[in-house]
């Protein structure tokens, strides 16, 4: 019974949502939107679970003085600090219903002075990692790898202003060989074809997986099969 009820709920809700796509009559018309809102509400309450887990894991690390326990201390301080200044809107307009991002609020200051730069820093790691990954991966080991390599050159050059200077001198009849034109052609045609093929495969995979879940063949929400 403990396993059967969730499977029945999954089947009923899954089927109802599929039918809702074709039935405009209430309550089907707003089923998708309502269930999304219900999911968001549950997810918000689940934050308590996640936050509680975070605190517990790091408090245990501090208590048992495990490896790198000072970082757990920093984590907890940071977590509690942001929670308090955001919840109580410290520095901003008084009252719990005010905007936590209001001008002058501590949360806004932390968001702009700490969070934004940290996020931008992590994102900027990509620039370095792209270089090291390209250096390692773009080797002409096979015919396909060679085609990939040539395409990579054209795109790398064509997506910068320098691409124009390499081939701007070409006569009009050979304009199609102009590097930015070639780069746009690669993006617009072979790349698009490949993306579309992958997207079609993914869509079919999603349909198959969704049907497996609705029919109860796959039950990740119940844990693994015994």
């Amino acid at each position: 019974m403990r396993r059967r009820i969730p499977i029945i709920i999954t089947f009923v809700v899954g089927t109802a949502l599929i039918l809702a796509m074709f039935i405009p009559h209430t309550p089907f018309s707003s089923l998708d939107e309502n269930l999304s809102v219900y999911f968001d509400i549950i997810a918000v309450f689940a934050f308590i679970l996640g936050g509680g887990n975070l605190l517990r894991v790091h408090l245990v690390r501090i208590q048992r003085k495990k490896v790198d326990w000072p970082y757990s201390f920093v984590t907890i301080i940071g977590f509690l600090f942001m929670l308090i200044i955001g919840f109580f809107k410290i520095g901003g307009p008084p009252g719990l219903t005010g905007d936590f991002l209001a001008e002058g609020s501590w949360f806004r200051f932390m968001f702009e002075a700490v969070f934004n730069p940290l996020q931008a820093t992590m994102f900027s790691l990509l620039a370095f990692f792209v270089a090291s990954a390209a250096y390692r991966a773009f080797r002409a080991k096979t015919k396909e790898a060679t085609i990939l390599l040539i395409s990579a050159f054209i795109i790398l050059v064509g997506r910068t202003p320098i691409g124009h200077y390499f081939t701007f001198w070409l006569p009009k009849q050979l304009e199609f060989l102009h590097i930015p034109t070639l780069a746009n052609w690669i993006m617009g045609w072979p790349n698009t074809a490949g993306q579309r093929a992958i997207m079609i495969g993914i869509a079919l995979g999603v349909i198959a997986t969704s049907l497996r879940i609705i029919l109860g063949i796959e039950r990740p929400y119940l844990g693994a099969e015994k």
């Binding site: 796509m21 405009p24 934050f47 936050g51 996020q119 992590m122 990692f129 349909i207 990740p220």
Partner: protein, 419 residues
């Protein structure tokens, strides 16, 4: 002037001059006043009421949840120009044809259509359109009665219903065949064959395995696929007694993943090896989560890293860091933009649908394998449709034939949201 001087000897010459001027001006004014009045009347006449808009055509919005009526009309002849410039229209509504019409909404000039979403189902409404030209306006004749209602079936999506039915039929057909014991061939997926190798390597080295189920929540089917694979993997890991680390970025994924791993350890007969700390929450924030994962990889140096789920910009950061520590990396995602990064930096990559096939592949469960065959049948159908579409479109361009154009357009409409 001399005559006046003789007639009015008591007035000085200057005063007399002023009087004459005043008289002349008055006569002039009187003689022209009718002309000015005439001009004024012409101005008033010029600012006449504008030409009326056409009688509004009304009908219930088709295939909707009710409460909506489409009102369309022919624009006034003075719309946006003409002698009496119409600057906009008011849409008026009443429940009786001769009743009190209320303004429901307003639109600007040039607009000849309005969707009234404030109607009540089952109530008869009549509409008039009021053309506005400054302080002047004119109403159209009333429309016929219209009642909004809900519909039970959206005919415009019949094409999608047919396609969904065909795909579902194939999937269920092959599932049924698999249940009956029919052997189904599934091609080898290198990334999944390497799972045992990765777990074995980690066990030999005495290091942990890092599993990342993506950064999206449980409502994303990729996360569901990731957790399902985690279940299979955890069973193998439990048997080998290798350390597993599953940091998650969503609280609900925490709950589901924890339950999955716990059941896997129980079914492998290793409940003693299970700990709640195997699956732990980090943060919802994308780059905060990535920073944690990078730190974990660099400090703990896991022997194997699995990235199976939905990823965005952090994919390359994870893969490169994993590469730098020498871990064996298996990635899988259905985000097409992230696939190139995983392919470049990881040892094995599950591309798109291979991620969804992984759970069936690893478990070898017949019904799950059957659904893979069904999806493949769908792919064959999609390929045929693309082939025919390309053929007819090419023929249309080459021959200019209307028949080809009709067939080509039909195929395009067949796969549109609105048939």
């Amino acid at each position: 002037m001399l005559h006046m001087e003789r007639a009015c000897p008591h007035l000085g010459r200057a005063s007399l001059f002023c009087v004459v001027v005043i008289l002349v001006v008055s006569v002039g004014f009187l003689s022209t006043a009718p002309a000015q009045e005439e001009t004024f009347e012409i101005s008033l006449a010029g600012a006449q009421t504008p030409a009326p808009p056409g009688v509004p055509e009304v009908h219930d919005t088709p295939y909707d949840a009710g409460g909506s009526i489409i009102v369309s009309w022919t624009l006034s002849a003075d719309d946006g120009g003409g002698k009496n410039h119409v600057s906009g229209y008011d849409i008026l509504r009443s429940t009786r044809i001769d009743g009190d019409y209320q303004v429901v909404s307003s639109v600007t000039k040039g607009v000849d259509r309005y969707v009234d979403t404030s109607a009540q189902d089952g109530t008869s409404y009549y509409y008039r359109i009021r053309a506005l030209a400054g302080e002047f306006f004119i109403d159209s004749s009333p429309s016929k009665a219209v009642i909004s209602s809900q519909q039970w079936y959206n005919v415009e999506r019949s094409n999608l219903l047919v396609i969904a039915a065909i795909l579902s039929f194939f999937i269920i057909f092959y599932i049924t065949r698999a249940k009956k014991g029919k052997k189904l061939f599934i091609r080898r997926i290198a990334g999944l064959e390497a799972v045992d190798e990765a777990v074995g390597r980690a066990t030999e080295m005495g290091k942990s395995i890092l599993y990342v189920p993506g950064i999206q929540d449980l409502d994303d089917v990729q996360t569901v696929a990731g957790i399902t694979i985690l279940g299979s993997l955890a069973k193998t890991i439990a048997k080998y007694d290798t350390k597993l680390d599953v940091p998650v970025s969503r609280s609900m994924v925490l709950a589901a993943a924890r339950e999955t791993v716990k059941q896997s350890y129980l079914s492998a007969g290793r409940p003693d090896a299970y700990s709640d700390d195997i699956v732990h929450y980090v943060t919802d924030e994308q780059f905060g989560y990535v920073a944690f994962l990078d730190g974990t990889m660099v400090r703990n140096k896991p022997a194997a890293c699995f990235y199976l789920g939905s990823f965005f910009a952090e994919s390359l950061i994870l893969a490169e860091t994993g590469n730098s520590i020498g871990a064996i990396q298996v990635a899988g995602t259905a985000q097409p933009a992230q696939l190139p990064f995983f392919v470049a930096a990881c040892d094995y990559t599950l591309i798109g649908e291979e991620l969804f096939a992984a759970s069936a592949y690893l478990s070898k469960e017949p019904r799950a394998l059957g659904s893979l065959k069904g999806a493949d049948a769908g792919k064959v159908l999609a390929s045929l449709a693309i082939g025919f579409g390309v053929l007819f479109e090419t023929l249309r361009v080459l021959t200019g034939s209307q028949a080809m154009a009709k067939v080509s357009d039909f195929i395009i409409r067949l796969f549109s949201l609105r048939f």
